[in-house]
Amino acid sequence: MAIKELHKKLAAHEISAAELCKSYLEKIKASDPEINSYITVCYDGAVKQAEEAQKRIDSGCDDILCGIPLSIKDNICTKGVKTTCASKILEDFVPVYDATVMEKLNAAGAVMLGKTNMDEFAMGGSSQTSYFGGVHNPFDTTRVTGGSSGGACASVAAGFCAAALGSDTGGSVRQPAAFCGVTGLKPTYGAVSRYGLIAFASGLDQIGVVGDCAEDCALVLDVIHGKDPSDGTSSYLAKGNYTSRIGESLKGRKIGLPKEFFGEGISSEVRESVMNAANFYKDSGCELIEVSMPSLKYAVSAYYLISSAEAASNLSRFDGIKYGYRTKDADSYNELIKKTRSEGFGDEVKRRILLGNYALCSGYYDAYYNNASRIRKKIIGEYADIFDKCDVILTPTAPTTAYKIGQQENDPVKMYLADICTVTVNIAGLPAISTPCGYGSDNMPIGMSLVGRAFDEAQIVSLCDAYEKSFERREVKR
């Protein structure tokens, strides 16, 4: 049920916030063992929050998220509630502070049902690298959810929450949203404070929203966006009001189709579904323009170099000295950090740390990190050229539908290449939204992405909303 509907029911006292919260908690308790979308469920805390929210509703509070139950990705710090990043190294880590987004959600009266599963430290596209076990796709539990916000997207798809916060560094909100048949919004870099989001790649990370529809994502973004004095990279340009253009005529809007996103490696049924959506827009009065992004072929390499370099540095603080896992026996400081990190991190995280440090080593820095930064500038330039001609860009979200668990995880390079459709958006810091636009022969959802100009979330939300109203979504059968 859409947030607006839930809000109406709460406001009309058709249901109490606590009842609503408990109904989700019961569903989680009954069905999540199959899905494994939550790492921590706040059975007591959520009900308490709901009761507080109810008091506010009773005293006339009309805040849209008051009493609305949400799930939070487990890399967002929640004061007093375990925040693990799905890693052994933070298995028992309880933050002493709330992320800025949590402060905002708490102030808005939202209810946190629990913390969702993910790829360890958000590194991955399958949600199978979690220390707490992989996440299963609610459409077909033998398939992956995508990742890294697989728990967030599965929790929305399975009806284990009204909406979810995820994080998106290279597609981590949009790709699992596509695989799970829900809507995922990755805001402009700087639109949402990163304070309290445990960093993977600081220059690319952005907290995003997963929901049943574009409007739900926009409503949550309205609450969490904005300049934050605690995050120097957050921006005054994030103005909110992200639902303001919903319902406007689509006539004359210019939609760019970058040809490189529809080429080799994209499955034909994905291509077909996205082109169908393009035709929907054409029929609605939009102008379709073929555009080009020649540097796309370098994007995945540049993305993995930059993100791994930043990750290697960001993850250095996990040394067993201050918090988190510490090896049982070590005779020296060097042995302590070596063993702690060897035992505490999973393989994929170690792979990125090695790759990142290699790219930053003196002697290799120019060849790797600097060249990647140059490609980054090129991609930003190519997006700017496209946005001279277009209002938004339409692309597939992922080359394929969700694959079988165990099918791809052993081939990291193949996994990395599957990020081709999403990484450029992070590299350029742009907003994008993914929504289902079809189903494959395997009955799994297919996603398309609308990419907008920086801080123009209202535009992509409105275009996405118009499409969603015409598209018949399949519900998860449970």
Binding site: N75, I76, C77, T83, C85, L90, F93, P95, V96, Y97, A99, R194, Y195, G196, L197, I198, A199, A201, S202, G203, P229, S230, D231, G232, T233, A309, E310, A312, S313, S316, R317, F318, D319, I321, K322, Y323, Y333, N334, I337, N357, L360, C361, S362, Y365, Y369
Partner: protein
């Protein structure tokens, strides 16, 4: 063989901001361990650094104080290495785009070039408990804002290095950037030193001596290194590039780690902090707010005020003292007299009491008035010293003190003449003796006059009258 040392410095100075450079914790010295620590400076997951604009401002002031170019654009980088006193396992510093570049300071008639000044954060401290066999981390110092001043290898003598460090310490104090308390570690010096045969222009392999915390230690460490490296070369050996630690008790240096063991810091642009832009207008504003630097004051004192170099040097050595002097001579420009009174009498008071020039109870106006009274002959020079001491203790103005202590010199000729007549009448023998050529007796007679006339008597006037009457 005779060798010439080639020396370059890296100076770390803690900046006098109220809070730390990337969080709101207080920037103070001392206190209980881990008393000034928050999620940010202890590197808790998810926290982000936010630049303290006050630190940027002070770093810019350091740039102007040390005659650097202060750049409109600067940016932060990460320096990555593991150490338990570094909670994030990287230090935020400025590598590629430092805030200041291209400075120069003249000492001992030599131009010393400053390559750069950059902003960075300090690390914490480890406390080792040998009894328990454990080490503990104190993060109070984590995130204390530093500037690092890097010179070119332009020094050739110990004297140049020591004068340079003193000059830097003083200028940073004048600019309000650093309190320059080397003994507390707020100013620390790393010395890079190599030697080359006299007449050569090819630099040798350098050693880096870390964390010297007094001008004297810098001198001793350099002397030791010169002899150590000379000995190696004389024996046909080669100096190894390495980092060394100076031991103040033994007066020697010991190797810490060699070049091979040196870290690869894997610097890269800090993605959590946007670059720093300072507009030309802002830079102008900072420049206009800069106080006169001690070297310019020295020039003014010696050239315009004609003070001896030694006196000028003593005055500028303490900014508050020098400010006080400037304020006093602005009111009453008796440069030498004000200087004398401050350097001798006031300094004696300060030394005796242990107070500093900031603590003075009286104003520059009071001091100017006192010197004027002395110059005008209202009080005697000796009385001026006594009055200054009373001013120092009580904060009263000099006129009041002079009156209370009856130190205003009497210029009443009639009264003095009467006294002189009386002294002559009562000491006829001495008068005769003087007249017959015994000049020494005049002193005795003057003493008698002052005895009757009291301290307030104008000694010059008394002398004139006595001389006149005795010769009549």
């Amino acid at each position: 063989m005779r060798y010439v040392p080639v020396i370059g410095l890296e100076i770390h100075a803690e900046m006098l901001t109220n809070s730390k450079v990337f969080c709101g914790c207080a920037n103070e010295f001392g206190g209980a361990q881990n008393d000034r620590v928050c999620p940010r400076c202890s590197g808790m997951p998810g926290t982000l650094p936010v630049v303290n604009q006050g630190a940027v401002m002070l770093a810019a002031r350091a740039g102007f104080a040390l005659e650097c170019t202060v750049n409109n654009y600067s940016a932060f980088d990460r320096k990555n290495y593991f150490y338990p006193d570094l909670p994030k396992a990287y230090q935020i510093t400025q590598f590629q785009y430092p805030i200041c570049t291209n400075g120069h300071i003249r000492v001992c008639d030599t131009d010393i070039r400053i390559n750069r000044i950059h902003i960075e954060e300090d690390a914490g401290k480890l406390v080792h408990d040998d009894y328990e066999g454990i080490s503990m981390a104190d993060y109070n110092r984590c995130g204390v804002p530093l500037i690092e001043i890097v010179t070119e290898p332009d020094f050739r003598t110990v004297e140049q290095v020591q004068r340079f460090v003193e000059e830097i310490a003083l200028r940073l104090k004048y600019a309000g950037v650093c309190d320059s308390r080397m003994e507390q570690g707020s100013l620390r010096v790393d010395v890079n030193i190599s030697i080359m045969p006299e007449g050569s222009s090819e630099f040798g392999t350098r050693a880096e001596i870390k964390n010297l915390n007094s001008v004297k230690a810098i001198g001793r460490a350099i002397e030791y290194e010169i002899s150590r490296q000379s000995e190696i070369l004389d024996k046909g050996g080669t100096v190894v590039q390495e980092t060394r630690r100076f031991n103040d008790n033994h007066g020697d240096t010991k190797a810490l780690r060699s070049k091979e063991e040196a870290h690869d810091y894997r610097y890269f642009p800090e993605p959590d902090i946007p670059p720093v832009y300072i507009s030309d207008e802002e830079l102008d504003e900072i420049r206009r707010s800069m106080p006169e630097m001690p070297n310019m004051r020295f020039k003014r004192y010696t050239e315009e005020y004609s003070l001896p170099a030694e006196d000028a040097g003593l005055i500028i050595a303490n900014k508050a003292f020098s400010d006080f002097y400037d304020a006093a001579v602005k009111i009453y420009p008796s440069y030498k007299q004000v200087s004398n009174l401050m350097l001798v009498e006031l300094n004696r008071c300060l030394n005796d009491s242990g107070l500093s020039a900031e603590d003075l109870k009286f104003s520059p106006e009071n001091l100017a008035a006192l010197v004027k009274m002395s110059d005008d002959g209202v009080i005697s020079k000796n009385a001026a010293k006594d009055i200054l001491r009373t001013m120092f203790e009580s904060g009263k103005d000099p006129e009041t003190i002079a009156k209370e202590q009856n130190l205003i010199m009497s210029n009443d000729t009639g009264e003095l003449e009467a006294i002189v007549d009386k002294v002559i009448a009562e000491n006829q023998d001495s008068v005769e003796s003087y007249k017959s050529g015994n000049q020494k007796v005049f002193g005795f007679l003057m003493g008698q006059v002052i005895r009757f006339a009291g301290k307030g008597a104008n000694p010059k006037l008394a002398k004139d009258i006595l001389m006149k009457k005795i010769n009549d």
